[in-house]
């Protein structure tokens, strides 16, 4: 399981940030407009309290006049004008705010879309080697989780950042315009609260990390126990697994309440400091009002400003947190995008005239260049010959095939098709020469017609049906509820394993390649389907050079060439008789048939 999605520290924040900005570059005009509107929107709403304070002052003046019996006079006309102005300002602020969020979400969605697209394209440009060390889960998590994190952060944090900064500056300005002494005092009180928040945040983050860690452990254990349920049952180990669960559950709940608790402290603390600030402002304001330095309405405005001040600061604190996460997520995305792609290709030969003669010349290869598994392998295959690749499980039978199709590049030697090095063709050109049927059939979530047509996208329906007939799968396809238009579901479990293999054979028949690569059916397929598959494959092989990853002796016997692999290396080659005579690995494998019979007779 991979948990670096959460809270991982970025390695080089600056570089990542620069790269991220490059993605925003095309939208810079829009972003500038967003920034202007965000700032304006904050400014317009900041003026509010000051104007409202003026109304209050007018009210107080009227009241004082009343107390001093100079006649109750309320200047409603003046107040009315101010209030209309206020409503007007608030409306503008709201409209500006709409405009900026509307534009910003457009930009962030576009950037997200681009990132996902680039990641997807990158996936098919990476050498297969990359996937030897990176799990599918890791790649998927970049396309989904990491891109989502970036998207959310772009959508919210950026405009929030601008609004918060604009608000802080604006509010500070307004406070200073009312009274410097009061501003300094208020800032002092507020700075206390920020210190508090910082301390609490740090403590709670520690517990959050702990919680995340035990959550990870919990998920791991639960996943393992549920997927191995029958084993746990068969071995009577339920108590054991429950006991282990209890342990993890206990630490999880411990860190869960602690992290929750420390987060919940924040709000009362801030509220307390806010109220202290309020009282201080009242005391100081009252004193200053008496001295006629400020007006009563100013006190009211000031209180509102103090309140408004905490909000953006809290926001900034949380933004810095999200920003860290975003940078970590971006870094993972860019890291993937920066992975070296497949080696550059040459275009010196055309594959359209290839007949299918293949030669391997002193091949050296290792998945890890430091650990070569094939040391020095040479052989030549004539056009139309049948090559069987055999060896015990895990011997690396598919390696040769992967080299031939340039899924991996060899470390030394050369592979030639019709005398031309495969490295002189473009990858696409080279691969179009081959047709491949693997054991783990790959079908996708689309109709059967589309699945057979895969790779030969311009084939007509008639051609598809003809190929299906040749692959002996027309019959079963017709029995399906929607025939050729039956949609294969996500797990493709609406057809059997054997039927899947037949479909992939039909796919190759349709593609009509020069050279074939076949992986024989194994045990998971029932006999009758297996016979069909064998027939289909035989039809397919006629006249084509074919490489067969073999599991059964009957196929091997009549092959023109048998390559025997062990521990990844080609240890023997020759035809059936030659290899038997040599008395090596192959002979041992072949003779195990007879050993088995001895046991049978022994009983």
């Amino acid at each position: 399981m991979n948990f670096n999605t959460q809270g991982a520290k970025a390695k080089d924040s600056r570089k990542t940030l620069r790269t991220l900005l490059r993605y925003l570059e095309p939208y810079r005009v829009k972003i500038i407009i967003v920034m202007v509107f965000a700032a304006l929107s904050s400014v317009f709403s900041i003026v509010g309290p000051k104007l409202l304070g003026k109304v209050t002052t007018k009210l107080a003046e009227g009241l004082i006049a009343y107390y001093f019996r100079t006649g109750l006079y309320m200047d409603f006309e003046y107040m009315g004008r101010l209030i209309l102005l206020l409503i007007f300002l608030y409306t503008i602020s709201m409209v500006f705010s709409y405009i900026q969020s509307f534009m910003m979400s457009g930009v962030s969605m576009q950037v997200t879309y681009n990132l996902r697209k680039e990641l997807d394209q990158k996936m098919s440009r990476l050498p297969l080697k990359f996937y030897d060390t990176t799990t599918h889960g890791e790649v998927l998590s970049r396309i989904t989780n990491d891109v989502d994190t970036i998207s959310q952060s772009l959508n919210q944090s950026l405009s929030q950042l601008i609004t918060s900064v604009a608000t802080i500056i604006g509010v500070l300005g307004m406070m200073l315009s009312i009274n410097v002494l009061m501003t300094v005092t208020a800032l002092f009180v507020l700075s206390l609260s920020f210190g508090l928040v910082g301390t609490i945040l740090r403590t709670s983050q520690k517990f959050f990390r702990e919680q995340q860690a035990s959550l990870g452990k919990m998920n791991g254990h639960v996943e393992e126990m549920y997927s191995g349920h029958t084993i746990v049952q068969a071995f009577n180990r339920q108590d054991d697994s429950i006991e282990r669960f209890y342990e993890i559950n206990e630490t999880l709940s411990d860190s869960a309440w602690k992290s929750q608790f420390f987060t919940s402290i924040m709000q009362p603390m801030m509220q307390f400091v806010g109220n202290v600030g309020y009282v201080v402002v009242c005391i100081l304001g009252g004193y200053l009002a008496v001295k006629k330095v400020i007006e009563i309405g100013d006190i009211q405005s000031f209180i509102q400003y103090v309140r408004n001040f905490t909000q953006p600061i809290m926001q900034l604190a949380s933004i810095s947190n999200t920003l860290q996460q975003t940078i970590a997520a971006s870094e993972r995305v860019f890291e993937f995008l920066d992975e070296p792609e497949e080696s550059p290709e040459r275009n010196l030969a055309s594959a359209s005239v290839v007949t299918g003669a293949v030669s391997f010349e002193h091949i050296a290869f290792g998945y890890d260049a430091a650990k070569p598994i094939i040391h020095d392998f040479s052989t030549a295959v004539e056009q139309g010959e049948k090559v069987a690749i055999v060896g015990p499980t895990g011997a690396g039978k598919t390696t040769i095939v992967k080299l031939l199709m340039r899924f991996y590049d060899i470390n030394g030697g050369n592979i030639k098709i019709d005398g031309q090095s495969i490295y002189d063709y473009t990858r696409n050109d080279l691969r179009s020469v081959f047709g491949m049927v693997l054991q783990d059939t790959w079908l996708y979530n689309a109709s059967i017609l589309d699945n057979i047509r895969y790779g030969t996208f311009d084939a007509t329906r008639e051609q598809v049906v003809a190929a299906a007939k040749a692959a002996h799968c027309d019959e079963f396809i017709r029995t399906l509820p929607h025939g050729y238009d039956t949609i294969l579901n996500e797990e493709s479990d609406n057809i059997s394993q054997g039927q899947k293999q037949l479909l992939t054979i039909a796919r190759v028949i349709l593609a009509n390649p020069k050279i074939l690569i076949l992986d024989e059916a194994t045990s998971s397929i029932d006999t009758r389907t297996e016979i069909l598959i064998q027939k289909a494959m035989d039809a397919l092989m006629k006249g084509r050079t074919s490489f067969i990853i073999a599991h059964r002796l009957s196929t091997i016997k009549n092959a023109d060439l048998i390559l025997v692999l062990n521990h990844g290396d080609v240890v023997e080659q020759g035809n059936h008789e030659e290899l038997l005579a040599a008395g090596g690995v192959y002979a041992g494998m072949y003779n195990s048939q007879f050993e088995r019979r001895t046991i049978a007779h022994g009983n």
Partner: protein, 576 residues
């Protein structure tokens, strides 16, 4: 939801404590505006610093009390939520551990994992919010309303107006956004699905040069996801600015209406300012409540999913008066007219199966996929119970035995070799943690696992990744066989467990097995005829029925189905 409350009732003390503190806190918070009004009226307007200090002092004390209440409530809320979640999780996990295959099939492991983890986390979040916000918002909302009305009936109308505005805003937004939110998950899944397909089919895609096709497929999914998200985001951008607008306009209106009331000498300035505070408190309460109304339905879905697991009883139970295995247990097995239907299925998988498997003998099962071989042996270990007929082990109906007693007698090697994270040793001692090292080595030797174990960097202490992903298919299978052999069980079930082995290893392994576990009853499900040539008894299954029973030679002549299978795998001269 009721279930969640039942779990919470365990912590009723803390809950009541939290509730009491919330009331105190709400009273404090509602009294504060009064003091503020006093400060303005008596202190600021009159320029009386003493009053300001006095009232200010009281205010600070009150805030302190409120903050203290809030912190303790926070503590209670966190504890109640974490403990409730812990208890629920434990119950779900324990329940799942008692599940047999029918229940497991019903839920699927993936769904059970979500129910044990994510769903309960959702509930935990809700509990925290509920304790801290729901009740506080309710108390504050009502308290604030009472105070506001007492202060000024006319001004209260402004609050009613703005709350109404807010509610309408939220309802309209939810109405427009919810349908899009619902399809969002499907669109995300679609993007994931295509990415996963592209990863899994990497070889095929490259072999067929269909990268461009795949890119356009991904692009279509990516585009509709982006468009949907853009719609949601844009609709949601309306929320915040409008809310701010409503709150600001409410304040302005209070001042305007208040000014007229002040002029009419109905209220004073301090009162008006206090009123603004009430208005904000009430509006905030409504906001909190509406957030809760968004959260509650989600958590309710989770709660009902959790409840479903906890309340699922197991179909397969131990009898109260179970028969204990005899001291001189003889592993003779007999199936008597066994018929079996999978739960909720109309077609039987096995029909009227009868056979005997004697101790010390090997009984093999062969047949095409779906013929019922695996099901047949799974019945013996009681992953399922028979529908009709009975299975006897040492003369006792296995339904009369305790499942744990029965399983103690069986070494089980599943079709899919499933290893646990840990070491080679921890996996091999899974059946018996007190097993001697000699015993482990012996099992590894029989299973032909010794060679690859010795080449691993730490030998028996080599690390095994979850699911055994750092081993090859054949290695995993040999580990799985060794693990069962450590048990020295009187009965062994091999459910197609030689499929990933090459022919030579397969042969050597079975030979060793014969030598070392000769006294046990062996049941072997196989696809390869080669694997079962030497069996004492081969049972051929087709469509859930026995169509042949005998040795390899007998069946070759007597059973057409067997002959067909054998011929497809061995050439004519290899057959005898």
């Amino acid at each position: 939801m009721i279930m969640v409350l039942e779990y919470m009732s365990e912590y009723i003390g803390m809950f009541l404590g939290a509730l009491a503190l919330l009331v105190v806190q709400a009273i404090c918070d509602l009294t504060l505006p009064d003091y503020m009004s006093d400060i303005v009226n008596d202190g600021v307007i009159n320029g009386n610093v003493n009053i300001i200090l006095q009232v200010g002092g009281k205010m600070i004390l009150l805030t302190l009390l409120s903050a203290a209440c809030m912190i303790v409530t926070g503590y209670f809320a966190a504890r109640i939520a974490a403990n409730t979640a812990r208890d629920m999780r434990a119950d779900v996990f324990k329940r799942v551990q008692t599940f047999s295959n029918p229940e497991l099939d019903k839920f699927s492991p993936a769904s059970l994992i979500t129910r044990t983890t994510n769903d309960i986390t959702q509930i935990q979040m809700l509990i925290v919010m509920m304790v801290r916000m729901l009740f506080y918002a309710a108390i504050m909302g009502t308290g604030g309303a009472i105070k506001a009305i007492a202060e000024s009936r006319t001004l209260s109308w402004t609050i009613v107006g703005s709350v109404l505005g807010l509610v309408i805003l939220i309802i309209v937004l939810l109405y427009t956004v919810l349908p899009k939110m619902r399809i969002m998950q499907t669109l995300v899944d679609q993007v994931n699905l295509i990415s996963r397909e592209n990863l899994e089919g990497m070889l095929v895609i490259r072999a067929f040069n269909s990268q461009i096709f795949e890119e356009s497929r991904f692009d279509a999914a990516n585009r509709s996801l982006t468009e949907n998200n853009l719609y949601i985001n844009r609709a949601m951008t309306i929320l915040m600015p409008t809310m701010m607008f409503i709150m600001n306009v409410t304040t302005v209106l209070i001042v305007w209406v208040g000014a007229h009331q002040i002029a009419a000498l109905q209220i004073d300035i301090g009162k008006m300012m206090a009123f603004m505070q009430y208005a904000m408190q009430i509006i905030m309460s409504f906001l909190m409540l509406s957030v809760m109304f968004i959260l509650i339905p989600r958590a309710m879905v989770s709660a009902s999913r959790v409840k479903e697991v906890i309340e699922t009883g197991t179909v397969i139970k131990d009898k109260k008066m179970a028969v204990r295995p005899r001291a001189d247990f003889v592993p003779d097995i007999e199936y008597e007219n066994v018929t079996f239907y999978y739960p909720e299925s109309d077609e039987p998988v096995l029909k009227n199966i009868s056979f005997k498997a004697k101790h010390g003998q090997t009984t093999a099962f062969i047949g095409v996929t779906g013929s019922g071989k695996s099901t047949l042996v799974n019945l013996l270990i009681r992953f399922y119970d028979v529908t009709e007929g009975r299975i006897l082990v040492d003369g006792v109906d296995i339904r009369d035995m305790k499942r744990s007693d029965l399983r103690d007698k069986i070494g089980y090697i599943p079709q899919k070799a499933m290893l646990f994270s840990g070491t080679i040793r921890s996996n091999l001692t899974y059946a018996d943690s007190d097993s001697t090292f000699e015993n482990i080595q012996r099992a590894a030797r029989i299973a032909q696992a010794e060679e690859f174990i010795s080449t691993m960097s730490n030998g028996y202490d080599a690390h095994i990744a979850q699911g055994g992903t750092n081993l090859s298919g054949g290695q995993k299978q040999r580990m799985s066989i060794a693990r069962a052999l450590v048990k020295n069980a009187p009965i062994y079930i091999f459910d197609d467990s030689f499929s990933a082995l090459d022919m030579k290893t397969d042969a050597t392994l079975r030979e060793a097995l014969h030598r070392e576990a000769g006294g046990s009853t062996l049941l072997i499900v196989a696809q390869r005829v080669g694997t079962i040539l030497s069996a004492d008894q081969i049972i051929v299954l087709e469509n859930g029925e026995i169509v042949g029973c005998g040795t390899h030679r007998e069946l070759l002549h007597s059973c057409e189905v067997y002959r067909e299978i054998a011929l497809s795998q061995l050439s004519e001269d290899e057959l005898d």
